[in-house]
Amino acid sequence: MALPAHLRTLAGVEGEVHLELGASPSFGALLDALEARHPVLRGTIRDHRGTTRRPLLRFYADGVDLSHQPLDAPLPASAVEGSEVIQVVGAIAGG
């Protein structure tokens, strides 16, 4: 998955993050795996209960907006196969 610059800096990662998921990968499982590898990201993408996406963030993959899907919805096959990147996108800032 691809994180916005602020979160890459916070987590100390460069480029995309590759995560191993179980047999039925969902977006919730993806975020669980991300936060397990990088605990500093807890609370920065969704709340600490793991249920509510922060309002200025959106999730996209393979041209599809996943932001409003249930967390237990399956990930797109292309993302699971690794041919597409799941993107965490922050609202653009003006100024």
Binding site: H6, G43, T44, H48, R54, A91
Partner: protein, 371 residues
């Protein structure tokens, strides 16, 4: 030889500045946490190498950083601020009920008694305590659940708990200030709270002398006189000599009694500082002149301090947590502006110099006097 370390939080990161006792040449390190808003940084009075930073953006929420080596390296610690029990509602701007929602940490206050204890003042207004250096946070919910809590309403900047003062001789006594709820005092370490607004008057309230609803911008206390408090309010500079039970206005001859920060000289408990701005609708200095005002009489009689500060075409603001004093023999005072200028004086405000001139908008300034 003593040294001074400035902790500067800005809209786009943190900066740490260091100097020797002369305070004329400064080394600037930063930006740390570039791109993030650093609401506040503060060091432990018991262990100055332990520093807390409130790192935040609207996008990614709250992160708490802690350094144990004076800011050379940082580790993210606990960032879960959960209200105790059912949070309930406070008043929204239009007077309707609005759920209590955590947004960010405005101010950290490390304990003067225990280096592992630190308090956090947050928006929506509440006070949290950590007993393990910021790893875990517990709300001191007696404040939020005060009988008046459901009537509190935000100021334009949010309903923030921005000031925490701890009586160093009796740490169970603390004062907090909330915009726009007012001032509160606890004598039992945060379990129960009393309104500390007697005598305040705010014309924008339906009842100007109501016990809550005052928009307190900042409070200050000299550690040797913990019952004497100074306040910069949304209009009016005030003082109390009975721990906040009764306040009197001491605006005196100020050109405007609107402003945000207020500070007390390190060695003169009756010497106080404010930076007046024109009004609630015009947040810039009167006449385009950046003037710190000093009173050596605890208020009422004020003198303008101008040497080294811009005296024409200056239209910046100084936010509530953006002024601090050091404790060197010749007291230093520092403040940062919304224009990114950081000014300092090493002689109690008689003369000033620009320490940095092109930082991002400065949100907070703290100073550490190091041995």
């Amino acid at each position: 030889m003593p040294r001074v370390r400035l902790l500067v939080g800005t809209r786009k990161g943190a900066f740490i500045l260091t100097s020797d006792e002369a305070r004329q040449k400064w080394e600037i390190e930063g930006p740390l946490f570039g791109g993030w808003e650093i609401m506040h940084m503060k060091g432990s009075p018991l262990n100055p190498d332990r520093i807390y930073a409130s790192q935040w953006t609207d996008w990614f929420g709250q992160v708490v950083q802690r350094s144990d080596d004076g800011g050379k390296s940082w580790d993210a610690v606990g960032n879960e601020f959960s209200y105790d029990g059912v949070a309930g509602t406070h008043q929204w701007y239009d007077g309707t009920p609005h759920p209590w929602e955590f947004k960010r940490v405005w101010h950290f206050e490390p304990s003067p008694r225990d280096p592992e204890v630190v308090f956090a003042g947050v928006e929506d207004a509440a006070l949290f305590r950590s007993n393990d250096g910021g790893a875990h946070w517990t709300e001191l919910s007696g404040l939020r659940t005060h009988a008046t809590g459901s009537t509190w309403a935000p100021g334009a900047g949010g309903m923030c708990l921005h000031t925490i003062l701890i009586d160093p001789a009796r740490v169970e006594r603390m004062y907090v200030a909330i915009s726009a709820a007012g001032a509160f005092r606890t004598d039992d370490g945060g379990g129960s709270w009393a309104v500390a607004t007697g005598g305040l008057s705010s014309d924008f309230l339906p009842d100007p002398s109501a016990s809550v609803g005052h928009c307190v911008h900042n409070m200050a206390m000299h550690p040797s006189r913990p019952d004497t408090l100074f306040m910069q309010k949304h209009w009016d500079v005030c003082r109390s000599d009975d721990a906040g039970d009764n306040w009197t206005e001491v605006s005196g001859n100020l050109p405007s009694d609107f402003g945000f920060p207020i500070g007390v000289h390190a060695h003169e408990p009756e010497t106080i500082y404010v930076v007046p701005i024109l009004s609630d609708s015009q947040h810039f200095p009167p006449d385009g002149k950046l003037r710190v005002y000093r009173s050596r009489t605890g208020g009422n009689e004020w003198e303008a301090l101008t040497r080294g500060l811009p005296q024409e075409d200056c239209y910046v603001n100084i936010l509530r947590d953006a002024m601090a004093v050091d404790s060197l023999d010749s007291c230093g005072i520092y403040f940062g502006t919304t224009g990114g200028q950081l000014y300092g004086s090493s002689d109690s405000g008689d003369t000033w110099m620009a320490i940095a001139e092109h930082l991002p908008t400065i949100l907070s300034v703290e100073v550490q006097t190091l041995p």
